[in-house]
């Protein structure tokens, strides 16, 4: 905060410094002072010197009042205390909790989907078992023509396979709806992420205002670089020119390197 005050002060003084305020009045008063001095009129000289000094003091007071008003307005406009305190004090930690929740939502949904995939593999194995049973029944069919009393057993076996296949079908249908339902996390996490994006925009705005207030506003903030501090770049995001390579690029690069 103190840095802001100093800078606002410096900027105002700098702007007013080149022009001498009340220049014509000073010239007139100095001429009168000089003529009193030349006339050797001590009373008149004292009076005019006092007038000159009062003029100087008035100018100082006007400037001081102006500076105070500007400073007060700047602090008021920025609303530093309220806005920054709210952002740093509650909204940022809150955003971190929200993002943790998003990570958890996504992870839970992925695990639920993977669980169902595992269960579906078991059902597919049972389906393969049905195919084997049907092959077996087909092989026994010629016997039925020779020994018709076996038809009942074959029919029972077919019923059994049909029953199993219906069970598998119902099971798979249930699994598909579980997978579809697991995607609902996207709606919730999307909403939370949008809120956090809004917060990031607000913080960006507050920081830019702060930069301008501290006289650094003319300088365009450097765009963040991916691995500025030795951090890994992470997933390439479409629309951000982070220099991310595609699998094809990577393959070509490795081929160039003799892989």
């Amino acid at each position: 905060m103190s840095a802001v005050v100093v800078n606002i002060h410096a900027r105002t003084v700098e702007r007013d410094a080149p022009a001498i305020p009340d220049r014509a009045e000073y010239i007139g008063r100095l001429r009168e002072l000089l003529s009193a001095l030349e006339a050797d009129d001590q009373a008149l000289f004292e009076a005019r010197l006092n007038q000159l000094m009062r003029l100087r003091e008035e100018g100082l007071f006007v400037n001081l009042a102006k500076l105070t008003r500007e400073l007060h307005q700047a602090v008021k406009d920025l609303n530093f205390d309220d806005r920054l305190q709210q952002l740093a004090g509650s909204e940022l930690p809150d955003a971190c909790l929200r993002l943790d929740y998003v990570v958890k939502l996504g992870e839970d949904a992925a695990h639920r989907t993977l669980d169902v995939c595992d269960d579906s593999r078991v059902l597919l194995d049972r389906l393969n078992g049905c195919v084997v049973s049907l092959d077996d029944i087909r092989e026994r069919l010629p016997m039925v023509t020779q020994q018709p009393f076996r038809a009942l057993t074959v029919a029972n076996d077919i019923d059994q396979v049909e029953h199993t296949m219906r069970e598998i079908g119902a099971g798979l249908r249930g699994h598909f709806s579980t997978i579809a339902q697991a995607q609902e996390y996207q709606d919730l996490s999307g909403q939370v992420i949008r809120r956090v994006i809004t917060l990031v925009h607000n913080i960006e705005g507050a920081l830019i205002t702060l930069l301008r207030a501290t006289n650094e506003g003319q300088r365009t903030p450097a765009s963040p670089t991916a691995s500025a501090n030795g951090e890994l770049a992470g997933p390439a995001v479409p629309g951000l020119s982070s220099g991310g390579q595609s699998q094809q690029d990577a393959d070509a690069l490795l081929a160039e390197l003799g892989f």
Binding site: E107, A110, H111, L114, C117, D118, A226, S227, L232, A233, G234, P235, A236, S242, G243, G244, Q245, S246, Q247, D249, A250, L253, L254, L257, F259
Partner: protein, 130 residues
């Protein structure tokens, strides 16, 4: 290629470990084990028995590139094939991985087909070398 070879899957995200494990199972490689970062993977590798490593890059504790360097620097493990499966897609990183002696590099998100192609290519090279 011997489908019974033992593969270590190293990734800090349990979902990604499961996905890789499922894809490997579909390709016939059912003998797998999992570790959640290089630090956990290292003693498992030291204990022996693994024929192949599939590792992520960015992990807490010990990263995939450090694990790769450790493997290449170890007399017992230096010829163990390592496939990097990672979201890190910067040119410099791919070059770093190549320099560190990676055998294949897959960028996430990836498809089952990409995984199969890279595995086949690595095994093909090892068979040729053998």
């Amino acid at each position: 290629m011997d489908k019974n070879l033992k593969i270590l899957i190293v990734d800090d995200f349990s979902t990604m470990r499961r996905i890789v494990k499922n894809l490997l199972t579909d390709l016939g490689y059912t003998n797998t084990a999992e570790a959640d970062d290089g630090k956990t993977a290292w003693p498992m590798l030291q204990a022996g028995g693994f024929d192949f490593v599939v590792t992520d890059w960015n992990m807490p504790g010990m990263t995939g590139i450090d694990l790769l360097r450790a493997i290449r620097g170890d007399d017992k493990l230096k010829s163990l094939p390592v496939l990097m499966v990672t979201a890190e897609a910067q040119r410099d990183q791919i070059i770093d991985a190549a320099k560190a002696g990676v055998n294949g590099y897959i960028i996430k998100p990836f498809t089952a087909l990409t995984l199969k192609e890279k595995l086949d290519k690595i095994f093909q090279r090892f068979e040729q070398a053998a």
